[in-house]
């Protein structure tokens, strides 16, 4: 009777293992780069051909290997990175499983050239299908060069499953980019089919982010750093107006290893909360440094997933650090005009000289209308938006007498420097001198120290009410103005049950509502800041909006109610405001935690810097 069960041949088992470790050319690149980094390389070159299918070559200037080590390195479960079981608890290198080279060698033709500091000559190895085909000596600088050719030549199924060339190349590029961001001190050189994709000199983290993602993105970044006993957290957040429509550009590194964690991403998204419009995602780079004992990276051979000892602590820390970083920064988008939009001064002069003003104006697309667009969203059509880290302490009261006109009250709360100074509410101040105007009953324009600020009155008010409502949910009852004539409202059956369900919350909003049965509710009191007479309409609107939001997936009842109420109770575009109302509005706006974005993620304030105006008028 012959035995049916037998041990697999090493070749076969390696191929099977390779299936896990080497899934695509990018996996090879990742494993090789990690080896180079573990070997302390300061310069790493990656050369690929045909998206890695034909050739992947990684050259580094790391420790290198002796002849013996070189041969050993291709054995399965051979590694220099860990020794004993306890090492597994505290992994400080990127690799440790001892699988990569063996797995790669099982599915490709591999050549290795390496020289350690102590050797005179480099070792050259050619390995094919797990066998050493050639072993000679050759010359090489200190370091290692590994060439992987004809990946998956012996596993046609896997080869056929590779995606399109562009996709595979993008995967490789992603791997290299991530490593480059995580290791800014290392020089990177990345070539695909003779085209240089990256050539990065050693630099600071900021420099690297700028080099990799471009200047525009890097200028919009908010840097943050925070350390506690559990871990230290640093990184960059993009201002909300740089949010992307895809989740692609989020990078999380844990002890410099690129990881993917839904939990962490969720924490960051949550911190951005209403700063973003629906369906857009913030760009961020997050570096977690954490005691290796507190995490387990040995979850999957690709080591992208990790397990934390205490998920919820990490979640909370990330949430609060990111939120703080966002709140502490001026998120006011400012507007500058596209190069081509600005009158080039020479051109302008010529036109003034020869044809006079009128022509010059006409050449500017008809009328001198400023192409001010809303800042965030949608591919940024006309204006380019550059963020500005300037506190709002720069709101000027008046231009004429800056010295004497500073009776600003200083408000104590929160460390937000935006709040440090605010508009004086002094009614006796001469009104004409206060630089605030309302335009089209829709926007408020105010002079600030270095330019002007445009506020959308509706969303500004919305933000104020939203925050007030949220805080009244948490704290005490709001002021309720009792009504002389209780308003009897007949509602639909479904609205009636909704009111019933929300009654407690509505009361916290400031609605004193009694249920009368038969789909009739009686409003006996309304929030003190609701305009007289609109109680019936506001209740109905809030209910409708609440429903809409529910459909849109806002699940938190209070949040939803606060948003619905804020949206409906706020002054609208088209409402005329007098000077005092505008001053109050601005004052309150800057008391909110997030004056720059409305609860739905639309910008509240847009700033036009003086330089921009100067440029516009050819005053450069």
């Amino acid at each position: 009777m012959s035995s049916r069960i037998h041990i697999l041949s090493p070749e076969l088992s390696n191929k099977i293992a390779a299936g896990e470790v080497v899934q695509r050319p990018a996996s090879v690149v990742k494993e090789l780069i990690e080896n180079s980094l573990d070997a302390g390389a300061t310069r790493i070159s990656i050369i690929v051909k045909d998206a890695g299918k034909a050739l992947i070559q990684v050259v580094d200037n790391g420790f290198g290997m002796s002849e013996q080590d070189a041969s050993m390195s291709f054995r399965r479960h051979a590694t220099s990175k860990i020794n004993k079981t306890s090492d597994l608890e505290e992994i400080r290198t990127l690799g440790f499983r001892g699988e990569a080279l063996a797995s790669i060698a099982a599915v490709a033709r591999v050549e290795l050239k390496t020289r350690s500091e102590s050797d005179d000559l480099a070792t050259f190895l050619r390995i094919e299908g797990d066998e050493e085909k050639e072993k000679t000596k050759s010359a090489l600088e200190r370091g290692t060069s590994i060439t992987v050719r004809n990946l998956f030549y012996n596993t046609p199924a896997r080869r056929n499953f590779l995606k399109h060339r562009q996709t595979e190349l993008k995967n490789i590029t992603d791997v290299v980019t991530r490593a480059a961001v995580s290791y800014p001190e290392v020089e990177w050189f990345y070539v695909s089919d003779d085209e240089i994709l990256l050539d990065l000199k050693s630099s600071s983290v900021e420099g690297r982010v700028a080099a990799v993602f471009g200047k525009v993105v890097s200028q919009s970044l908010i840097k943050f750093e925070e350390t506690n006993d559990l871990m230290s957290l640093s990184g960059f957040l993009a201002r909300p107006n740089f949010a992307r429509k895809s989740r692609a550009e989020q990078m999380v590194f844990m002890n410099r290893r690129f990881i993917f964690s839904r939990m962490i991403n969720h924490a960051v998204f949550h911190a951005y909360e209403h700063l973003l419009e629906k369906g857009s995602f913030p760009f961020f780079v997050l570096n977690l440094t954490i005691n290796p004992k507190k995490v387990d990276v040995n979850v999957h051979p690709s080591k992208m997933e990790i397990k934390f000892e205490n998920d919820s602590n990490i979640y909370r820390m990330i949430l609060s650090v990111v939120r703080k970083a966002l709140v502490d920064n001026d998120l006011m988008p400012s507007v500058s005009f596209k190069e081509g939009d600005v009158l080039s001064s020479i051109d302008a002069k010529l036109q003034y000289d020869s044809q006079g003003w009128k022509k010059a104006m006409e050449s500017q697309s008809g009328a001198p209308v400023f192409p001010i667009g809303s800042s965030s969203n949608h591919g940024l059509s006309k204006p380019t938006v550059t963020p500005n880290i300037i506190g709002l302490d720069e709101i000027e009261q008046s231009q004429s007498n800056p010295e004497t006109s500073f009776p600003f009250k200083t408000t104590p709360p929160s460390g937000n420097r935006i709040l440090d100074q605010r508009m004086p509410g002094d009614q006796s101040a001469s009104q004409g001198s206060r630089p605030i105007w309302q335009v089209h009953d829709k926007y408020i324009i105010s002079q600030i120290r270095n330019g002007l600020m445009i506020i959308d009155q509706h969303v500004a008010h919305e933000r104020i009410i939203y925050e007030r409502v949220l805080s009244s949910f948490e704290n005490s009852l709001p002021s309720i103005q009792q009504l002389l004539f209780p308003e009897t409202v007949e509602v639909s059956a479904s609205d009636y049950s909704l009111v019933k369900e929300l009654q407690g919350h509505l009361e916290r909003l400031g609605f004193d509502i009694k249920l009368f049965g038969k789909n009739t509710v009686v409003i006996e009191g309304i929030p003190a800041d609701v305009r007289i007479g609109s109680e019936r309409k506001i209740l109905q609107d809030v209910l409708d909006e609440f429903r809409n939001n529910e459909h849109a997936g806002i699940s938190d009842v209070r949040d939803n109610l606060a948003k619905s109420f804020a949206c409906k109770a706020a002054i609208k575009a088209g409402d005329k405001l007098n000077i005092d109302e505008m001053v109050v509005l601005i004052e309150h706006l800057f008391l909110t935690k997030m004056p720059f974005v409305c609860p739905h993620g639309r910008p509240v304030i847009v700033k036009i810097p003086l330089e921009e105006l100067d440029k516009r008028f050819g005053r450069t």
């Binding site: 009852l477 002021s479 009792q482 002389l484 004193d512 009191g525 800041d529 007289i532 109050v584 008391l591």
Partner: protein, 371 residues
């Protein structure tokens, strides 16, 4: 049409009626004032189709006629002129108007009087004879609490109710209410309630002259006739909310205080209230009233203690300071009485001394305190 007049005399009358002229109208002709000359009598008419005013004055006329004159232009001109004699000369054929002073000549284009809408005539069913001072007092004490909410048109006017020999004037915006009862009036024939738009009242209070006046009204219109001026207004044909039912009768906690002291204290304290809610609170103990306000958003609080007479149990009640200030400044008695029942029920405020045949009651809804 041609006449001569002193500029300030014309201006005086124009100011009274020009308040009717709508600043923006779908009917551009309404931005004019109709000038009609009959011998030495010049009649001026302005209307916004709801309210019409007409006034007449003596001039030295030389050529009868009628023309619609742009209100703003002519008002601006008169304002800018020193006291001077004006010769007003209009060619009703081509609507060209010429105003000539000693030194200047001002030409403007008018519109044909044919296009100007006629003042509505109505058949009055009632007529009252009222002293100007009474009209003024009714208006000044009530109009401040008329609602501006277009959604509830009934409350945007002043309710006049006639019963036997008494007349009630009521105004409310749903947060406060004023009711004045006048007794011992001559019997009125048709005892219907009418609601007068607040704009008409404001115009009357500006234009009124001393003397005794006729007020006549039907169910659709009201007409105030003064010596040289009449105002005709359409009435608000809506049903007024049942205000009597919301005036509490069981308010047993009585507070007596000096009106002026109280008013100025409320004004001072309210400076420290939140500028969105304007909430202040009254805290009452035996013969002791404390008025407090705090502004949570911006920090800041204020307290004042006021001597008063109060003997019921301790109570705390919140108000919108603006409502209180309005009410207290429209009462003309040395002292006022507050009647409270609880911190969520209406408070009643009355003057201590009242004129004969006049009963004034004001009411304000509290703000529920955030405790």
């Amino acid at each position: 049409m041609k006449f001569t007049i002193e500029s300030n005399e014309l201006q005086k009358v124009l100011i009274k009626i020009s308040g009717v002229v709508p600043s923006k109208s779908t009917l551009p002709i309404l931005e004019n004032i109709l000038f009609t000359l009959n011998e030495n009598k010049l009649t001026l008419v302005a209307t916004d189709m709801e309210i019409s005013m007409s006034a007449s004055l003596d001039v030295r006329g030389s050529e009868n006629g009628s023309i619609a004159v742009p209100a703003k232009r002519v008002m601006d001109t008169l304002r800018a002129l020193p006291d001077a004699q004006i010769v007003f000369n209009a060619d009703t054929g081509n609507n060209k108007i010429k105003m000539i002073t000693e030194n200047g000549e001002y030409n403007l284009i008018g519109e044909s009087s044919q296009d100007y809408p006629a003042i509505p005539e109505f058949k009055s069913s009632n007529e009252l004879l009222i002293e100007s001072s009474v009209i003024e007092s009714i208006i000044s004490k009530t109009v401040f609490s008329v609602s501006t909410d277009e959604l509830r048109p009934a409350m945007t006017g002043l309710l006049l109710q006639f019963k036997e020999k008494e007349m009630r004037a009521v105004a409310t915006d749903g947060h406060r209410l004023v009711r004045i009862i006048y007794t011992n009036l001559p019997q009125i024939k048709d005892q219907k309630d009418i609601i007068i738009p607040s704009k008409a009242l404001n115009l009357i209070s500006k234009a009124i002259e001393s003397g005794s006046n006729t007020v006549s009204f039907s169910s659709t219109h009201i007409k105030f006739s003064f010596k040289n001026l009449t105002l005709t207004s359409r009435l608000i044909e809506e049903s007024y909310p049942n205000y009597e039912s919301v005036i509490p009768l069981e308010n047993d906690k009585k507070l007596l205080a000096d009106r002026n002291i109280l008013l100025s204290a409320v004004k001072r304290v309210s400076l420290y209230s939140s500028n969105t809610t304007h909430q202040i609170r009254f805290s009452m103990k035996k013969d002791d009233l404390k008025i407090m306000a705090e502004d949570i958003d911006f920090g800041g609080e204020a307290k004042e203690k006021i001597a008063c007479s109060y003997s019921a149990e301790n109570i705390e009640i919140g108000f919108n300071a603006i409502y209180l200030i309005d009410i207290l400044s429209h009462i003309d008695s040395q002292e006022v009485i507050f009647n409270f029942s609880s911190s969520v029920k209406a408070a009643i405020i009355k003057p201590v001394t009242m004129k004969e045949n006049e009963d004034v009651l004001m009411l304000v809804m509290p703000m529920r305190l955030n405790v």
